[in-house]
């Protein structure tokens, strides 16, 4: 009988762990309460931009990751090692490519992505629709009355020295929804798509045009190509307010890869507790509606995310891991957030999480608590993915290791 692996969480970390476990021959089930938090992020894979809160951006993230082994051994990257990060990034690109979604970049450089605020964010891997140098943007063009895209502001903020042209295509979009979902849907229609292409051909033939994150979750690549064919230039999507459709695309592609690999995905199922005996997890309590049932497996991967998705919960004074009651480390108590909201230092609660050994098994006071439980992704202690811009890379690298370990193979 195949080894059964239960993965709690269907975000990037959980899906990666499940893919690795399935590839290693295990029978894998994902339990997910929601669908992750990918749509809140840019759709890029952040590897590591700011290792030091007071320092500059990393020039070569992988080199900084190597240093972490010495300077910050509690960091998840230090637990899995730089070669694993490199491997995980490569696998990610290959997996998504197989699903028709192209990603660019590597762990060795930071890529610059302009945002809908006109700021520049630094990241590792970028989707094809965001692949381009912000300095090359000639025109900032809004579509369909989209309120989450201030083209004038973006043009002004981006080009303090050089000004950029701004444009907006609303004609023909009056009847549709004016949110990301609605505009993306309208752009799927051949006539709307062509209308944008023709508009840009009049306005900026052959140029680089920044548009909002409104390319549809299923057809982004096609739509982009068709528009670019018409106006002969390059479209560059800028990430902005949620829903981040680029993130939705990414998670759907990973999800399809998992389904193709035979992973069983159980949605609307929140893990709320666990049963254990003799140093092994024996089962996980799952709530659906108001009903609870026990799901059992041979090995378990905790990839439930952090505060946003409920992997960690809080009350006035405490942070808790609610499923296995694992000790929460990386936070020394006191306030959850710093005095000021916008700080390069990050916020204390966001570094909190579950501490693991090099096999990614959660630690108690005297070693790993369970032989068959592994943790990966944002739930891990010892790093602040928000401040560092490292969430995606950690999810991929630790998801890989956790999935393999859970399947009973070495990483």
């Amino acid at each position: 009988m195949r080894r059964r692996v239960l993965v709690i969480g269907g975000g990037i970390a959980g899906l990666t762990a499940s893919l690795e476990a399935a590839q290693a021959g295990a029978e894998v089930t994902i339990l997910q309460a929601g669908q992750g938090a990918h749509h809140l992020f840019s759709g890029c894979i952040d590897v590591l931009a700011y290792p030091d809160p007071d320092g500059p951006a990393a020039e070569n993230p992988l080199v900084e990751i190597v240093k972490l082994a010495g300077s910050r051994p509690e960091h998840p990257y230090a637990k899995v090692g730089a070669p694993m990060v490199r491997e995980a990034l490569t696998s990610f690109i290959a997996r998504l490519d197989a699903q028709g979604l192209v990603y660019h970049g590597s762990g060795e450089t930071l890529r610059r992505v302009a945002t809908a605020l006109g700021t520049i964010r630094l990241t590792g891997l970028v989707p094809d629709t965001m692949n381009g140098d912000p300095a090359q943007i000639d025109v900032v063009c809004n579509v369909g009355f989209f309120r989450n895209f201030a083209e004038g502001m973006i043009a002004a903020e981006l080009g303090r020295r050089t000004s950029r042209a701004i444009a907006s295509l609303s004609y023909g979009f009056e009847q549709g929804r004016r949110d990301a979902v609605g505009i993306a849907g309208q752009l799927c229609a051949a006539d709307r798509c062509a209308a944008l292409g023709e508009f840009l051909r009049e306005l900026a033939p052959g140029k680089t045009v920044a548009i909002p994150n409104v390319l549809d979750a299923e057809h982004a690549t096609d739509t982009k190509r068709r528009i670019e064919e018409i106006f002969g230039g390059t479209l560059l999507e800028l990430p902005g307010l949620p829903p981040g459709l680029a993130g939705v695309r990414m998670i759907r592609a990973l999800r399809r890869a998992a389904l193709d690999a035979g992973v069983r995905i159980v949605a609307a199922a929140r893990a709320v507790g666990a049963r254990s005996a003799d140093g092994l997890v024996r089962g996980v309590w799952v709530r659906a509606g108001a009903n609870e049932r026990l799901e059992t497996a041979d090995a378990y991967v905790l990839a439930a995310g952090h505060l946003i998705t409920g992997g960690l919960v809080s009350d006035r004074y405490r942070l808790r891991e609610p499923i296995f009651n694992l000790p929460v480390r990386g936070w020394s108590g006191g306030r959850f957030f710093a005095e000021k909201f916008l700080t390069t230092q990050g916020h204390p609660a966001l570094s909190a999480g579950v501490e693991v050994d090099e096999k990614l098994r959660p630690l108690g006071d005297s070693g790993p608590l369970y032989e068959n439980l592994f943790a990966c992704g944002d739930i891990l202690a010892g790093f602040d993915p928000y401040r560092e811009r490292s969430g995606g890379g950690v999810a991929l690298a630790t998801g890989t290791v956790a999935g393999r370990r859970a399947a009973g193979v070495s990483a």
Partner: protein, 513 residues
Amino acid sequence: MERTEVVVVGGGVTGCGLARDLAQRGVGVILLEQRDLAHGATGRCHGLLHSGVRYAVKDPIAAKECIEENLIVRKIAPHCVEPTGGLSVELPGDDPTYYDRLRQGCDEAGIECEPLDVADALQLEPALNPNITRALRVPDAAVDPFLLSQENARAAQRDGAHIRIHSQVIDFRRAGDRVVGVRYRDDDGEHEIQAEVTVLAAGGWGKPLAALAGVKVGMTLSKGSLVIMNRRFCDRVINRCRMPADADLIIPNGPTSIIGTTSITVPSPEGLLIEDRELDVLLAEGIDLVPDFFSGRTLRAYAGVRPLYQEAEASGDGRNISRGFFVLDHGVRDNAPGLVSIVGGKLTTYRLMAEKTADKVCELLNVDARCRTADTPLREAKRTPHYRRYDRLARLNETPPGEMICECEMVSREAIRAILPELNGRADLADVQHRTRLGMGPCQGGLCSYRGLALMQAEGLVKPGEAARVLGRFLEQRFSGINPVLWGDQLREEALNFALYCTLFNMDREDRS
């Protein structure tokens, strides 16, 4: 040099009400407010339109004043008032004699006070503590202090007054002993106004301002902290049937519930902090009234200062109108003619305070005009309905998806465009918030700050390179009220907002100077 008849210093509800009254009487007024209207105690109170029940036992004159003004405010500003009604509920352990004394006091003050069966009270308000022993129905109501101040200011403007926000008085002009105007600072620099009468309606700032004018006004500043919950627990104002104390008042405010308050003496109206011990009191006592209260989502906390006037030495011509508020003629009292202060009081009686102050000002100006504010609606519409939550919900009927700027509080592009002229060319999201409720819902500006900023930028209010600063300032302002009660669902919200503004928009690393 600018000249006017009256300068009103302070844009709280009293100052705005005074500007409205004077302007209606044909007096030329310039109102100067250091920040935005209702920045001080007005915008930090509980939002209660007192029935007077809380004074019925210890201060019957104040109680009578309250109920009279309560009825007047409902009449002249129905859209600022939700006629929720109120309950006064007795819990086991409360002084049982208070109930009867309360009923008697209400009778004497003319406050409608009707006993209610406990079963009926619990049916009306199922969230109440089921152990309440007795209940009374009282005519409390909920009021929107921001809107009330703004509507008074708008009415004043229609009658020719000038309302200037972000204009801080930094000195007084003197001609000998006489106060003949002010010097103030705004974004464009320093300016002077010559005025025949200068009125200090500046709440807690009245004391330092008076000192600047060489005049002593004794005041105790009593800080009160309050906590806002994300949802309604009760549709009525809930009082506790005992001598008023800390944390015994829960008031519905639009879609939220507010519990308050505490009282701690502080030296200044600036730099107010919410202390953990205040939260402890609010949390502990709030659940006496509504047991599930803190199972809900804490949204934010805020603190305001009650400027309690102390009749110092001589009462003299302090014009002691009521034990609640005082109009001080500094010409008589302090040999500083041309300066008047209005001190003390409460939001509910703002109109009366403004009336008495305007009477004094007109006396000093030799203007013979009577107050008509009790009979003139603030809004010139045929029928202005009372505040209802439905009116926000109804916006979803008319607004296509994507046209809402703030989805939490149902604020459309139209609504924001309509008030942008009142910002006087200044890009300040907090000013938008005060006028529309943008950013006051569960996401606390997470999603709508960007959109509000984008709208302002499209209207030309945001200079190039300024966007991050304007946005950052608003986010920090929102956060300062969230941080004291940051746990549970709101902690998750702030994690999301941090993901958005730092991780995605990179604002932690942007120059926001």
